[in-house]
């Protein structure tokens, strides 16, 4: 389940489970969204993106869902692995503006 950890909500799952990380974005005019994964001591790494004219996009083991009505974005990770343990950030952009990152969620995967 989810809990509030050190400034970050935390999702703890077992290896092999599916994980769902949620994000509420701020600007209804945002037209491009990205999910990033950040491991300890590293910079954010691109996972998957989605444009506002889509409501779902799939990658390898990951799916992003976009609900513009309620300004909600989710990242689904199938068959979660210990290597997926990291902090996940959603980011939004509108027009030619710069990326705005949301608050992160820490994913902890136990073997």
């Amino acid at each position: 389940g989810e809990s509030v950890g050190l400034h970050l909500p935390t999702l703890s799952v077992q290896e092999g489970d599916n994980s769902i990380i949620n994000c509420a974005y701020s600007n209804s005019a945002s037209d491009y969204f990205i999910w990033y994964k950040q491991e300890s001591g590293k910079g954010p790494q691109f996972i998957i993106d989605i444009r506002s004219n889509m409501d779902k996009r799939q990658g390898q083991r990951v799916t992003v869902l976009l609900n513009k009505t309620v300004k909600h974005l989710s990242l689904q990770i199938a068959a979660t692995q210990p290597g997926d343990s990291a902090v996940y950030f959603c980011a939004e952009r509108w027009g030619y503006s710069t990326l705005t990152f949301g608050k992160g969620t820490m994913l902890l995967v136990s073997p």
């Binding site: 037209d31 491009y32 590293k42 910079g43 990326l99 990152f101």
Partner: protein, 115 residues
């Protein structure tokens, strides 16, 4: 392909001292970004360069922060004088261009501690 390089990786200074960070973007990337990431938060953009020109520095505290990218490649970010609240990880990122859909590649960051 080499990634974005940053140095130093860690820096500890006293408040009111000065500090500088260096970034070498991915070869051929015209756009360079500096972000500040405070513990427990997402990165916040400080400044964006397109080649050697500034595109966006609206969130850069210009009374103490400065950045340059003189030859359109490497960049330095300076803080003078540092305050306690500047303790954070400073991330550099680069992308091929400034277009909305150009992926940004991040370096490992410099962790700054101000005592």
């Amino acid at each position: 392909e080499a990634g974005v390089a940053q140095s130093p990786r860690y820096k500890i200074i006293e408040k009111r001292q000065s500090v500088a960070f260096w970034c070498n973007p991915i070869s051929g990337h015209a756009t360079l970004y500096w972000y500040q990431q405070i513990l427990g938060q997402g990165p916040k953009l400080l400044i964006q360069f397109q080649n050697n020109g500034v595109v966006d520095d609206s969130q850069l505290p210009k009374d103490r922060f400065s950045a340059e990218r003189l030859k359109g490649v490497d960049s330095t970010l300076k803080i003078q004088p540092a305050k306690l609240e500047d303790s954070a990880v400073y991330l550099c990122a680069s992308s091929l261009g400034g277009s909305t859909y150009n992926e940004q590649f991040f370096g490992p960051g410099t962790r700054l501690t101000v005592l």
